[in-house]
């Protein structure tokens, strides 16, 4: 098996352009074994059934980049986020952060590394301890990662962070509790807490999904401002392709534990190659009553990740699937014709077959 699908096709150009990536994900799989009964385990000595949440994923995130990871529920996108942070251990494959193999680090080394990577979750209320003041919540990571700071120094850092996330004047907020502020403000606090240790990587898992429409754009704007101010790299996990459009440099589309398409946002949105990406983009409701959808929606629903379809996982729902090919051969990420760094896992739209169709034999 080749070491990496991405490397074969596109990585060299990435590397030349932007130096070593901050995050590299190589052949990562995460299976969650299914609970089986005692009798079943006695009689069924074969392979234990498992949910294949992530089933062979490769990508990399360059420093300073906003890398989007999009897909429907159950696609595995959140699991990938946790694997990147080593909050979950991969069943197979490796994750590298700044060149370091996370699986090789000692618990102590991993703990030190944690200050360089942080996560922001969807629900700020669930992320904040209701009995901690906002100031205490933001100071908490500092107590762990920078224990030598004095009380005064910590307080100063907390107030600086509050100001950076637009909670002004900071002294008004530091002693309040999470329930005393609005939902949008709570998410600002979660962001402040994530940034207080000056991390390099932020995994943002649906960071604005709970926020109301009228405060969403302010939160996105804040995240992008902080990215510049703190030299951040984002892994932006979302189901909302419309929002992703406003923030991501590159985007990967996931389906049933696999990346089916990845590339520069403009290229993926402008000329999606994978039929699933096309359907997904077309299904996004557009705030314009005159707009009409153009693609037929895929048949049926997402199959179970316990026993994914053979060949291309999308073939049972795909409008262009060719039987005898798509249900047999498992497509890898391959170059999309006439594109730059744009890969798709579709036997008909990317790789040698697609290239062959595009250019007449010489």
């Amino acid at each position: 098996m080749p070491e990496s699908r991405l490397e074969q096709v596109a990585t060299p150009t990435h590397r030349i352009e932007a130096g070593p990536p901050l995050v590299e994900v190589r052949g990562v799989k995460k299976y969650f074994p299914l609970q089986s009964g005692f009798l079943a385990s006695l009689f069924n000595r074969g392979e234990q059934p498992a949910v294949r949440a992530v089933d062979g994923v490769d990508f990399e995130i360059r420093r300073g980049e906003v890398f989007g990871l999009a897909g429907e529920s159950g696609s595995g996108k959140s699991t990938v986020g946790r694997l990147v942070l080593n909050l979950l251990e991969p069943t197979e494959g490796k994750v590298f952060f700044d060149g370091m193999d996370l699986s090789q680090l000692s618990p102590d080394e991993m703990r030190r590394l944690r200050s360089r990577m942080q996560i922001i979750f969807q629900d700020p209320l669930a992320s904040l301890n209701p009995r901690m003041t906002i100031g205490q919540a933001i100071a908490h990571p500092l107590e762990i990662h920078e224990p030598n700071l004095s009380e005064g120094q910590r307080r100063k850092r907390v107030l600086e962070m509050l100001e950076a996330v637009g909670m002004n004047p900071p002294t008004n907020y530091a002693d309040k509790y999470p329930h005393q502020i609005s939902g949008g403000q709570r998410q600002r606090i979660v962001i402040a807490r994530a940034l207080v240790t000056r991390p390099e990587l932020i995994v943002a898992d649906e960071p604005i999904a709970m926020a109301d429409v009228s405060v969403r754009s302010a939160l996105l704007d804040l995240m992008m401002r902080l990215k510049d101010e703190f030299d951040l790299t984002y892994l932006f996990i979302t189901h909302d392709l419309a929002t992703a459009k406003y923030v991501c440099d590159r985007i990967a589309i996931m389906y049933l534990g696999r990346i089916v398409e990845v590339g520069p946002l403009k290229s993926v949105y402008g000329s999606p190659a994978h039929p699933y990406t096309q359907a997904l983009l077309d299904a996004v409701p557009v705030p314009d009553p005159k707009h009409r959808r153009t693609q037929p929606m895929p048949r049926g629903e997402i199959p179970s990740p316990i026993d994914p379809p053979s060949g291309c996982r999308f073939h049972p729902r795909c409008p262009i699937a060719q039987m005898g090919l798509c249900d047999v051969e498992d497509p890898q990420l391959m170059q999309v014709p006439e594109s730059d760094n744009h890969l798709a896992a579709c036997l008909l739209r990317a790789g040698p077959r697609a290239m062959g169709q595009q250019t007449p034999p010489s």
């Binding site: 949008g184 459009k245 009553p289 929606m297």
Partner: protein, 337 residues
């Protein structure tokens, strides 16, 4: 213009109050609204705007401690406020249907889909036989794109999209006139959502349904609604034809909302950023409730006087807006009078 016979449901000066620790809060504050026969009316608002409370009140369903304290609800010529709880119960399920965000909480987990459907039918149409009801249930479920044999499934065996279709089937089981759908697609993925919205439009035509679609998703409204009503801080701020409202919103809140929604089809760079956040309803701002966030706020009127919800000067009855930019100012009225 709509005549009175075109109107299926009329809400008149409805106020719904809740008891909270901070005293009585008006979740719906003096709201009037007409729903026309055969239309899909989109009701949009952010969380806490009162849109769900309004939807439940229209069925006379209680939402927690919420209580209707004043107003009238006219459904097909009948004042629902005068009906007994028993009469109301007959109406719900037979002529008024409801679809909620999370169908799992609306369906009985230990009852098969077919039992849900036949029970509803037999309760309201006792002269039907079990077989008739069952046949109709299978027919309906199939019409909604679920395989006939899956009526034997329990709710947990179905996907979210299927469960939502079962909810619609329940509403259609008795040919109901009005379906109030509260965030019906919010828990669905976009592809399932798109299919569900297509189905909703088809069913409206086929079954002559009238639908009140309550949602926070502006894109969903644009996709299916004929008219749109916008709610902010327990009040309606604008209502009108969907094309008109999206093209030329009259209320600054509607305008801000539309500009801050990400649009996948547009090439524009940045999103519009609305200032502040919605007010706390236990102490709403005086005058126009949007004035603290409004870029067009007029110091001498907006923070003082509550704007009327009425057609703008010179416009038809079909459009209504609650904003002083479109109504004569109170001082001028006083001088003229």
């Amino acid at each position: 213009m709509a005549t009175s016979s075109d109107i299926l449901y009329s809400v008149r000066n409805l106020t719904v109050e809740y008891e909270t620790r901070h005293g009585v809060v008006k979740g719906v504050d003096d709201v009037s609204l007409d729903i026309r026969r055969g239309e899909i009316l989109g009701l949009v608002g952010e969380s806490g705007s009162g849109k769900s409370t309004l939807g439940k009140a229209m069925m006379r369903l209680r939402n927690g401690s919420a209580r209707i304290t004043s107003g009238e609800l006219w459904f097909d010529g009948q004042n629902l406020m005068e009906l007994s709880e028993r009469q109301m119960r007959d109406l719900r399920g037979s002529r008024l249907g409801m679809v909620f965000q999370d169908p799992m909480t609306s369906l009985n987990p230990v009852q098969r889909i077919v039992e849900h459907l036949t029970e509803t039918m037999l309760t309201h149409e006792p002269e039907w036989t079990e077989e008739e009801a069952r046949a109709r249930a299978e027919e309906l479920v199939e019409r909604l794109g679920i395989r006939r044999e899956r009526v034997k499934d329990y709710p947990h065996q179905m996907s979210g999209g299927m469960r939502q279709r079962v909810m619609i089937a329940l509403a259609l089981a008795l040919n109901c006139d009005l379906v109030i759908a509260d965030e019906p697609t919010t828990s669905l993925d976009v592809i399932v959502e798109a299919k569900f919205l297509d189905l909703l439009k088809e069913l409206r035509d086929e079954f002559n349904l009238t639908i009140l679609l309550i949602t926070h998703n502006i894109g969903v409204v644009a996709e299916v609604a004929d008219r749109v009503a916008v709610m902010y801080a327990a009040k309606l701020v604008e209502i009108g034809d969907v094309n008109q409202v999206f093209e030329k919103p009259l209320h600054p809140y509607t305008e801000g909302l539309l500009k801050s929604v990400p649009n996948i089809e547009l090439d524009s760079g940045a999103l519009y950023k609305m200032e502040g956040s919605p007010p706390d309803l236990s102490s709403p701002p005086p005058g126009c409730r949007f004035h603290p966030r409004c870029p067009y706020m007029m110091e001498e009127v907006c923070p003082i006087y509550d704007p009327p919800f009425a057609p703008p000067e010179g416009a038809s009855e079909d459009t209504r807006v609650a904003c002083w930019l479109h109504h004569p100012h109170p001082q001028k009225v006083a001088i003229g009078a």
